[in-house]
């Protein structure tokens, strides 16, 4: 097999795995958008906040240490204990649910029936608020997140591909784990929404608010539920990205990568978010490999947007989105 083709295959595989993470972030957007028509700008910051909290709890950091120290003149930073990863994940999830509840109680409930643009602005405010709270609670230094996921070269794949093609593929174990977890998560979400009472209620609210109310569904309850699920998805995405590149502010920028994914997949389609993420992941890696190197590189910064833009022109509703026909 020619070397070039082998490299391309390796790049494609890596692209697929990067794409899984894009899908995951995009999924958080889709869930909330479907249920309440809100484009949640804060989704990326939610991932950052979840990751920060997770690290903080695991390391036994004192929340708001800076604030406490400057007010009381103390000098505390750590409780001096370490919390096991699993327990810390559960605690973080509890906090994300509390956040979901608070968002609904103190922000969204007051904005019912407002224009989408107003709700969007509210989530921008929410994003900066949450970013600030994250800073205040856990500090702004870069943290490493290690929940015990395997990392580094997967030797089996390396060996097998070497024996087969005479060239060993470099696939990171973390990417493989991330892919498996993402697949399980998506499958779980689909099963939940198709086969449980809450899932049915969720789909009902996504479809028609009036009708949902008339069969006894509390919109507030469903909104807290969707924001909690979106919080969970953010946590998973935060763990993956955090483990890969450290927990720092730039993590919240993955939300920006989700935008082209959404344009591609459509804002209301869960399969769209998944396929869109994979296309962008593979597309940008392959483009960089095949063309980027000849034109000076760094195409990964913009490729996704250009692809999404082209797509928008020809299929504004996205891959699987419903066609929008204005009724007159």
């Amino acid at each position: 097999m020619p070397d070039q083709l082998l490299f391309a295959m390796e790049v494609t595989l890596n692209g697929l795995m990067a794409g899984v993470l894009y899908s995951l972030v995009a999924l958080g957007f889709v869930l909330i958008f479907k249920a309440s028509g809100i484009f949640n700008y804060a989704q990326g910051v939610m991932a950052l906040f979840a990751a920060l909290t997770l690290v903080g709890i695991m390391e036994g950091q004192v929340p708001f240490a800076h604030l406490i120290n400057s007010v009381f003149g103390t000098d505390i930073h750590h409780f001096g204990w370490h919390v096991p990863a699993l327990a810390a994940i559960v605690l973080t999830m509890v906090l994300m649910i509390a956040f979901a509840w608070a968002v609904n109680r103190f922000v969204l409930r007051h904005l019912v029936n407002q224009e989408p643009i107003i709700l969007f602005m509210a989530t921008i405010g929410l994003a900066y608020f949450l970013e600030g709270v994250g800073d205040l609670m856990w500090g702004s230094d870069i943290k490493t997140l290690n929940v015990g996921l395997p990392q580094g070269l997967n030797e089996t794949i390396d060996r097998v591909t070497y024996e087969a093609f005479g060239y060993g593929f470099f696939i990171d174990n973390l990417d493989i784990v991330a892919t498996v977890i993402a697949v399980v998560l998506v499958a779980g979400l689909v099963l939940f929404s198709q086969y449980t009472k809450q899932g049915r209620a969720l789909r009902a609210v996504a479809d028609d608010h009036q009708a949902a109310l008339s069969v006894g569904i509390s919109l507030n309850y469903i909104w807290v539920l969707t924001w909690s699920i979106a919080g969970f998805v953010a946590l998973v995405a935060g763990i993956m990205w955090g483990a890969k590149s450290g927990v720092q502010f730039s993590l919240s920028l993955i939300a920006l990568k989700a935008l082209p994914v959404l344009m591609l997949g459509g804002f209301t389609s869960i399969p769209g978010a998944i396929v869109g993420g994979l296309i962008i992941g593979v597309g940008e890696k392959l483009f960089e490999f095949l063309i980027g190197v000849h034109i000076g590189g760094a195409t990964e910064n913009w490729f996704a947007y250009v692809l999404a833009l082209l797509f928008l022109v020809f299929r504004p509703q996205g891959l699987f989105g419903e066609k929008i026909i204005e009724r007159v």
């Binding site: 086969y195 449980t196 049915r200 789909r203 009708a211 069969v215 006894g216 509390s218």
Partner: protein, 272 residues
């Protein structure tokens, strides 16, 4: 005095009981518009109560007050002998009051079966965790509720479209699915906003039959809005007539038909 005042039996042998719902001096405003002006009436257990009146009379508004979609500025709503505090629509639904909408509100993306299953939500009590884990209790609950839904599907003769996404159905069938979803709640009070609007004669006859059978077989109390006078006379035990937000008549179909004010309203006699 009303012609019927509880615990009687109709000519066709249905039992009419005591007062199920009572509206007392309801006034509802939208900004400067008074959609309902100081209206009182009651609904007896087991009866078919119609609300009629010209366009814009405030009929849908009245139904929306009963179902909690609108909260009146003045007046009291009494249900099963208790004064009802201001409630959200989903809370009213949980009291056992189901409804359909004038402009059909279904879940277009979901199948007919799933749509009707949502009508059972108020009867499904298994908690979130049990549902998510899908253990015995949740499964039994799903199966038991599914059986009731299948009965309603048979009753309304929509077996052939069970798996079809509702968005693809023609108008007449959508109306029927909406009725099915409301019936699935096994409501104590069923509210129907123009269940026959936009239907052809045959569809209207079918729908009339389903409404009568519902009342007859399950003893469901029904309040319905309808434009077609003929249909109203056939279906209902008593009629409230509204015009420009006011109640201008209340009684049996015969009484109402001979009421001069009602006749004027329907013939479009100028208002002063």
């Amino acid at each position: 005095m009303n012609a019927m005042s509880g615990n009687t039996t109709t000519a066709d042998g249905r039992k009419i009981g005591g007062v199920l719902m009572e509206m007392r001096n309801i006034t509802l405003r939208f900004g400067g518009v008074e959609a309902i002006k100081d209206i009182s009436f009651d609904i007896l257990e087991g009866e078919v109560r119609a609300i009629i009146g010209p366009n814009g009379a405030g009929k849908s508004s009245m139904l929306n007050v009963i179902s909690g979609f609108y909260n009146p500025q003045v007046g009291e709503v009494w249900f099963r002998g208790e004064k009802r505090p201001p409630m959200k629509p989903y809370e009213v639904a949980r009291l056992g009051i189901a409804r359909t909408f004038q402009n059909i509100a279904l879940f277009d993306g979901m199948s007919v079966l799933d749509n009707i299953m949502t009508g059972r939500l108020t009867h499904m009590t298994t908690g979130m965790l049990a549902q998510a884990i899908w253990k015995g209790k949740a499964e039994r609950e799903e199966v038991a509720n599914r059986e009731i839904v299948e009965k309603i599907i048979d009753f309304l003769e929509i077996q052939h479209i069970r798996k079809v996404p509702v968005g693809r159905l023609p108008y007449g069938l959508k109306k029927r699915v909406e009725l099915a979803r409301a019936l699935a709640a096994e409501p104590k009070l069923l509210l129907l906003d123009e269940p026959m609007a936009g239907m052809n004669v045959e569809e209207k006859e079918d729908m009339s039959r389903y409404i009568l059978d519902t009342n007859d077989e399950f003893g469901t109390t029904i309040a319905l809005i309808e434009h077609d006078m003929g249909v109203v006379m056939d279906l209902s035990d008593r009629v409230v007539v509204m015009d420009y937000g006011k109640k201008i008549g209340d009684g049996t179909p015969d009484e109402v038909r001979n009421n001069q004010e009602v006749i004027d309203a329907y013939l479009g006699v100028a208002h002063d």
